[in-house]
């Protein structure tokens, strides 16, 4: 175990790579602070494009994730948005989900090889993001049309009405539900985290539509889940000496600014904006991952596509992924700007009316 680290090739840092890590860290942090997750899906391939080995990229990203989530969770806890008990219940079941997810990945890898594993990851990405992201976006659109008033989903209302012991009361989320219905949500979060590294894409919608928590509470609580999972994930990677602390600290430099700005942003906007941002990002990322599927199908000899076309699709996939993150950040900053301007105008009007 001690010698693995010495065999890893760590990259030399240039000014461009430093700036890249800082900026992506900031944007990723902004999105995470706002919707509870995100950033990892750009950071990991982004680092790999700089020449960082895959495992080091995953490990370094993981190592920046848990302190960022901690700072974001603390900030949002101060705003009264974090349900610690819900977060810990979710994190505990997510731990089991991660373990099962890794076993499944290894089984797929053993049966169909690297291309098969990549195809499994990309298809999971596309199917889950299109289905869940599409529903989140549709719900946000519906809420926005009805004046921004959020309602508890019929599924959550039904599950809350079932008295299946042990029942648990989540104070901040103001939800009383059976533990048996929260465990699958956490489990699925862990499974997705082990597969596509962004568990929040299941965790947050799960807390909203299955448990029945509000968008603000769900996204804030997801930061607790991210902290717990990131912390234990980091221990695992650091034991193998895979963490490049330089990369971690550079990402952290940007993301600590971003995550706090994102957390502040949640106090300015209407609750359904969380869903708008999350749904948009998920659908754009689905397109990006969809473009990666033909390469894996070609590698498995299921279809035949030219190398030039595959290369163009690969580049387009990465650009669209960066666009997804930037688009999310722009919606957040735009919504904050609009809300701040409205607040200032209201204040002025208040004084003028006197």
């Amino acid at each position: 175990m001690h010698d693995v680290g010495t065999s890893v090739q760590f990259i030399d840092l240039t000014l461009m790579s430093i700036l890249f890590l800082f900026v992506v860290g900031f944007i990723g942090g902004l999105v995470s602070g706002f919707i509870g997750s995100g950033g990892a899906f750009v950071l990991t391939p982004g680092m790999m494009s700089l020449g960082v080995p895959g495992t080091v990229a995953v490990a370094s990203n993981m190592c920046h994730k848990f302190p960022k989530a901690m700072v974001g969770a603390y900030k949002r806890w101060k705003y009264g948005q974090v349900d610690l008990k819900l977060g810990l219940v979710m994190a505990a079941s997510a731990g089991v989900g991660v373990w099962i997810g890794i076993q499944l990945q290894e089984w797929v890898l053993a049966k169909w090889g690297q291309a098969g594993s990549n195809l499994y990851v990309s298809l999971s990405f596309v199917i889950i993001l299109v289905v869940v992201g599409g529903y989140v976006f549709f719900d946000a659109w519906k809420t926005s049309r009805s004046g921004g008033e959020e309602k508890v989903s019929p599924l959550a209302t039904w599950l809350q009405s079932i008295n299946l012991p042990p029942m648990i009361y989540f104070k901040t989320a103001n939800v009383r539900i059976s533990v048996w219905f929260t465990i699958p949500v956490g489990f699925a979060t862990g499974m997705l985290a082990a597969t596509i590294a962004v568990g929040g894409f299941i965790g947050v919608p799960g807390m909203i539509y299955v448990v029945g928590a509000g968008g603000l509470v769900s996204s804030a609580t997801e930061l607790v889940v991210a902290f717990v999972m990131g912390f234990f994930g980091t221990i695992k990677w650091a034991m193998h000496g895979q963490v490049d602390i330089r990369l971690t600290l550079l990402i952290l430099a940007g993301s600590l600014f971003g995550v706090q700005l994102g957390a502040i942003g949640t106090t300015y906007v209407k609750e359904h904006m969380i869903k708008v941002v999350m749904g948009s990002i998920m659908l754009i990322v689905a397109v990006s991952r969809g473009l990666a599927v033909p390469r894996y199908l070609t590698e498995l000899k299921l279809i035949s596509v030219g190398e030039t076309t595959l290369s163009i699709m690969g580049t387009a996939s990465f650009i669209i992924m960066c666009f997804a993150l930037s688009f999310g950040a722009l919606i957040i900053l735009g919504a904050m700007w609009k809300a701040k301007r409205a607040e200032t105008a209201a204040k002025k009007a208040g004084f003028a009316s006197i």
């Binding site: 175990m1 001690h2 693995v4 680290g5 010495t6 890893v8 760590f10 190592c63 920046h64 848990f66 302190p67 960022k68 901690m70 700072v71 900030k75 705003y79 009264g80 948005q81 104070k171 901040t172 103001n174 603000l216 509470v217 912390f231 980091t234 221990i235 650091a238 034991m239 193998h240 000496g241 895979q242 963490v243 490049d244 602390i245 330089r246 971690t248 600290l249 952290l252 430099a253 600590l256 600014f257 706090q260 700005l261 957390a263 502040i264 106090t267 300015y268 809300a339 701040k340 607040e343 004084f351 006197i354």
Partner: protein, 275 residues
């Protein structure tokens, strides 16, 4: 300080202009500005109403005219009572003393202020002062004055400060302004500490990478490092957003109050005697 209850109709002379150069007096050579009338029943005004009026006058460019009213000492028929006169003198003196520091503070903020004392009913005092002093636009009443106390026709809009909430809000704003310097100093300090931490790692990156990637017991090193950076750099980032004026808006979700179980009466044995 003069007693205005017996100086009706004397216009601007009714206003006290002898506050000892403490900044309370208005400069009549300058143009007559619009005024906010602050009315209080006690000899001293609450911080809430003063802060609120100061805030408004700064934004609107108004002067402040403060009026201490004591209706109890204005009862007709007792005017020539020596004891009543003594009490009026005492009230006037105390009101004047209480106003001096307030006036100094207002002057330091560039707000012109005046102070008057009246001994009659609140509505009458406001009406009289409105005749005596021109360009009063509206009235703000201090805590402790109820709406019902201002009866009769007053040709001015009257606003009231609703006690603790107003005082807290305004005092907090004032407090924040005072602490801005401290916030900037703290931000700079944390920024320097943050830069120092980054410099320490990146100037010794060779050594750092050697030990941090050893695994085993050295696993603690990257974890402790990121936690230390989070505290210092995270606090710096938080302070920096505050310095730049980007802070959470007031409409944050209130933390849900814990539900306390309903108190139940424990059944106690009772003995009934049917004699």
């Amino acid at each position: 300080m003069k007693n205005f209850s017996d100086q009706k109709g004397k216009g601007r002379k009714a206003v006290d202009e002898s506050s000892g150069g403490s900044g309370t007096t208005s400069n009549h050579s300058q143009e007559v500005k619009r005024k906010i009338l602050v009315v209080g029943k006690d000899y001293a005004f609450s911080n809430g109403v003063v802060d609120y009026a100061a805030n408004l006058s700064q934004r609107l460019g108004y002067d402040i005219i403060a009026m201490s009213v004591n209706p109890a000492l204005g009862t007709s028929g007792k005017f020539f009572s020596p004891y009543n006169q003594h009490l009026r003198g005492k009230f006037t003196q105390r009101a004047q003393e209480a106003w001096v520091p307030v006036a100094t503070e207002l002057a330091s903020q560039g707000i012109r202020s005046e102070h008057v004392v009246k001994f009659e009913g609140l509505a009458g005092a406001i009406k009289d002062l409105n005749h005596e002093v021109k360009r009063i636009d509206f009235v703000i009443t201090d805590q402790g004055i109820k709406d019902q106390e201002i009866t009769g026709e007053i040709p001015l809009p009257v606003f009231s400060i609703s006690g603790y909430q107003g005082e807290k809000g305004m005092a907090q704003e004032h407090h924040e302004t005072a602490n801005r310097g401290k916030l900037i100093t703290r931000t700079i300090g944390l920024g320097v500490a943050s830069v120092a931490l980054y410099a320490a790692v990146f100037t010794n990156s060779g050594t750092v990478m050697k030990y941090f990637t050893k695994g085993g017991i050295f696993t603690a090193l990257p974890i402790i490092t990121v936690l230390a950076f989070s505290f210092v750099h995270g606090a710096f980032a938080s302070n920096l957003w505050s310095v730049l004026g980007i802070e959470a808006t007031k409409k944050v979700q209130p933390r849900v109050a814990p539900k306390r179980p309903a108190q139940r009466k424990r059944p106690r044995p009772q003995l009934h005697l049917n004699a």
